[in-house]
Amino acid sequence: MTEDRPPFFRTWTGVYALVLGFLGFLILAFYLFTRHYR
């Protein structure tokens, strides 16, 4: 088992924050999409 470090960001917490931030962005984008086409 090799060293457990992400290839970007210093820690996995940063990677997880990015992923969850992207989820937040998607929800916001979907919400605006819904409003626009309603």
């Binding site: 088992m1 060293e3 989820l23 929800i27 086409y37």
Partner: protein
């Protein structure tokens, strides 16, 4: 289907299966057969996890849902990225630290043998049944529409998947999944491009979106707190989170995909790949369905997409009634076509009053068409009460067969079969590994050579393959089997997840307490299922919470504290 379609279909399926067998021949130990020698990179893991989850039904039912209900189903996946972050942070390091072959092996290290066997038993029942459905569900749809024999279709998918899974184990599954996913995406993007080209021959893309929106097909987010609404932001975030956490964290068909990584980092990146792409992917597949819906605003669709249901009436004395319904449906379609054109024209004028009037007219005509469809379905059921009339699963394939060019039809049928094979191969691989490692090696023949275990694993995997194909061949005998298996999964998933979360989070709870808590929780879930009307997705949450609460209470009250702390490393408390 033309000869070119057959060549594309069989060439694709046979080439991928043969390549998988040839490339992964000769595993000599369990490490290679079930963990791929820990050689997988994140891309392979990510694609393998994605291909395992995306079954044929994903590519048949999801566009059908988009066609019938619009985009709201995507909300069911909003809890998935959160679940994958939790699995990545909590589950993966533990599985690597203990070097397990199966998720349930971990339970013995953390608790005791009986808890491991309980977890493995629940998995084998649930996954063994659902793997049969993974083959049966697309086969019944494809065989009905193409006029193929159902048994031959099941055998085609099943035998090919069993052959390379038995031969090459985990590596063959992961390798073939990469190419199967390539076929799937090539097919889906081609279909999307061709559908959009058809639609934009009649309206601009922006107009098509605007009309689809006014017809209620582009509502993605529904923040309603109404529990009776099927798809909402909150049910997706909460119910979807627990479902995905259980599936990705404790279901061996997924665990086996990511424990093949060459490091924790590779496995985590593979899951993060899915955390980022899964929601957009589901959005895209639903959007394909919405575009098919827009296409059928200009080209008259069949009144019922399941033509075998229509034939039942046509061959009965009540055929004239079906003919009258079809005439009414055609008239309603023509009127709606006028309405859709008027709506598109009104949207160009920016006149809010005209848009509202045109929208209300189209929606009224859509409801009228739907009510004629309902009458037709009722007519079918009155002639044959056993006939399943739900036809949304047939929408996408009907469109493919009737409106896409030669060659592309073969590619799209290959998409469906590739998706079925990629899912069933993972399930088979997981059933084989769980039976081999958690039952055969642990309980029956604990001290044999590696070669012996590889041969035994191949035999057990082949036996599961035979059982799954046999189950699929006889699945038609129970019409509501698909829903029954889905419900069965939700009844067990919560309890399994509860055992694992207790292991990770409640470090003072021992084996006997969690075992009794799990048995009591499962009993309670089954009693609730038979005595209440709770939606079955909620059992994931209820079962999980019950195991954790009951385990904690029993740990406090049982003599001897409900079993000693088994292994500090397995709780995450020790050095790793």
């Amino acid at each position: 289907m033309s000869p070119l379609d057959f060549a594309v279909l069989f060439g694709t399926l046979l080439a991928i299966a043969a390549y998988g067998i040839w490339k992964t021949r000769g595993s000599r130990d369990l490490e290679g057969y079930f963990r791929g020698d820990h050689a997988m990179k994140w891309g392979t893991i990510g694609l393998s996890v994605m291909a395992t989850q995306a079954s044929a039904i994903t590519f048949l039912s999801t566009p059908g849902l988009g066609y019938e209900q619009g985009m709201q189903f995507v909300q069911n996946y909003l809890g998935l990225p959160i679940a994958l972050v939790i699995v990545s942070a909590l589950f993966i390091p533990m599985y690597y630290r203990l070097r397990v072959y199966t998720a349930y092996e971990y339970l013995e290290r953390r608790f005791d043998l009986k808890t491991r066997q309980l977890g493995a038993f629940l998995f084998l029942i649930q996954r063994g049944l659902s793997a049969g459905i993974t083959i049966y569900a697309p086969s019944i749809i494809v065989s009905t529409l193409l006029g193929w024999s159902l048994d031959s279709t099941i055998l085609l998918v099943g035998v090919l998947a069993v052959a390379y899974t038995v031969s090459g184990g985990t590596r063959a599954v992961s390798l073939t999944q990469k190419y199967q996913l390539a076929v799937i995406w090539a097919g889906m993007f081609t279909a999307f491009f061709l559908i959009v080209r058809e639609v934009t021959g009649r309206l601009s893309f922006a107009q098509a979106l605007a009309v689809a929106g006014k017809m209620g097909r582009l509502e993605v987010i529904n923040p309603s707190l109404d529990f009776s609404t099927r798809y909402t932001l909150w049910s997706g975030m909460l119910g979807g989170l627990f479902l995905a956490l259980s599936y990705f964290g404790t279901d061996q068909s997924q665990v086996q995909r990511y424990i093949t990584g060459r490091s924790v980092t590779e496995s985590r990146l593979g899951l993060m790949f899915n955390a980022v792409l899964k929601v957009p992917m589901q959005f895209f597949i639903l959007f394909v369905g919405v575009m098919v819906f827009m296409f059928y605003q200009f080209v008259e669709p069949p009144m019922l997409f399941k033509q075998s249901a229509v034939r039942v009436v046509q061959e009965s004395p009540r055929a004239p009634e079906m003919k009258r319904l079809e005439a009414r449906y055609s008239a309603a379609f023509r009127e709606k076509l006028d309405g859709v054109n008027a709506l598109a024209a009104a949207l160009d004028t920016d006149d809010a009053g005209a848009v509202a009037a045109a929208r209300d007219r189209v929606r009224g005509l859509q409801e009228q068409a739907e009510s004629i469809r309902t009458e037709a379905k009722n007519l079918v059921v009155s002639v044959d009460p056993d006939m399943e009339v739900k036809d949304s699963d047939y929408v996408f394939l009907t469109f493919i067969l009737n409106h896409l060019p030669k060659g592309v039809i073969g590619l799209l049928i290959a998409v469906i079969f590739s998706a079925a094979m990629s899912s069933v191969a993972s399930e088979l691989n997981a059933l084989g590994s769980t039976t081999s490692v958690d039952v055969y090696r642990r309980l029956i023949r604990p001290r044999e050579s590696e070669r012996h275990y590889v041969i035994a694993s191949r035999v057990l995997t082949a036996c599961w393959g035979g059982a799954i194909i046999g189950f699929a061949l006889f699945a038609y005998m129970v019409e509501n089997l698909i829903e029954a298996v889905n419900i069965l999964g939700s009844l067990f998933y919560g309890t399994i997840l509860g055992i694992f979360l207790t292991a990770f989070l409640l470090k003072r709870v021992g084996g006997s307490a969690v075992f009794l808590g799990a048995v009591m929780a499962e009993g309670t879930v089954i009693v609730l299922f038979f005595t209440t009307d709770i939606g079955y997705l909620w059992y994931n949450l209820i079962g999980c919470a019950l195991v954790m609460v009951l385990g904690s209470v029993l740990q406090a009250v049982l003599p001897g504290g409900g079993g000693a702390l088994k292994n500090p490393v397995a709780t995450g408390a020790g050095p790793g």
